[in-house]
Amino acid sequence: MRNILKKYWLVVLTGLCVGAAAVFLTAEGNPANMGFCIACFIRDITGAVGFHGAGVVQYVRPEIIGLVLGAFIISVIRREWKPTGGSSPMTRFLLGMIVMIGALIFLGCPLRMVIRIGGGDLNAIVGLLGFVVGILIGVVPLKLGFTLKRAYKQSKVEGLIFPALMVILFVVSILAPALFKSSVEGPGSQHANVYIALVVALIVGALCQQSRLCMAGGVRDAVMFKDFKLIAGFIAIIVAVLVGNLIVKGSLAFSFEGQPIAHTDGVFNFLGMALVGWGSVLLGGCPLRQLILAGEGNTDSAITICGFVAGAAVAHNFGLASSGAGIGTGPVLIVVIASLVILALVSVFNIAKGEK
């Protein structure tokens, strides 16, 4: 019993806090069933700096900044901050783009998928099926010896650049908000108070760093090692969001139709999250985990986040991102197929020779 408590308490506490934070931030003004979506919020920052022109999703989200800096601060305190890098950065950039495009076809990262499930959105269950299938596909190359090669120790300056960029982004957005685009309608216009959002994200970032919470890792470890630690955090988020929504709204409506910032195209909900699941397994962690790792000094994760930003820009500039009205007007199916082919090629060509 003591061992079980020792193994699970921190990750379950983190999951409960993440879920509670999502409900709280939504009550404070963030978009419904979103609260804390990594893909959506990186996309909003991408828009705020003018990398895409979708006027309804542009805002410098302090949640992203807070998550990275929360992980940075706690890892420095706990002596876990370690600048590393050099593990196939260009491949990671490409995988980051694909993961982001998949997430914006579904309308959410794995974290928002879980938050949407807790909010009664049944489309997210379809997304979850795709996510699990994507992970199961990604596990196969891992078992065959897939690797993006080793990362090596880097200079402190190299590891500090990404957290420093987050600090600069935050300070400039406070001192000179007019420099950034900011939505006046749509999801980008809905946000909690900047400082409340930052503080919540700092706490959640620190908890995620210490508990190693990862949405993709949860399913992966359960399948590969019968290790249920991370998936316990995943389930704790759903429970916290369900209970939180019940407290805040008084009731929950489970449905496919009429859910906030969601569409009902099951095929693309499934395929979008399959891209996210497969890509995340190859990257070694979900988008949330990449932010945390970047805070810990992992520059490969920082490059992956640059890939997320590029993916968000591509998704909106080429009509691939979905909206509440349905999937994008661009060549969504072609891009999904091309992305699946790229994931297959990356999987096959990175299996180390002599491994089994």
């Binding site: 876990e80 190693r212 470890d221 090692f225």
Partner: protein, 67 residues
Amino acid sequence: MIDARGLSCPQPVLLVQRFVKANKPELVEVVVDHEAAVQNITRYANSQGYCVDKAADGDDTKLTLRK
């Protein structure tokens, strides 16, 4: 000695799992460079009946798994 430094999750624990399954060893030594790998390998080793000793090795961590 298994060198799992610099590898993304879950490759460090996969290397250990592969070695344990192939050789059924009484003793395994692994060197890793991040805490997530330390925890993953420790949980896997415990589930397979190994006790795990942890020792700092410069910037890295050396894990000794014993039956």
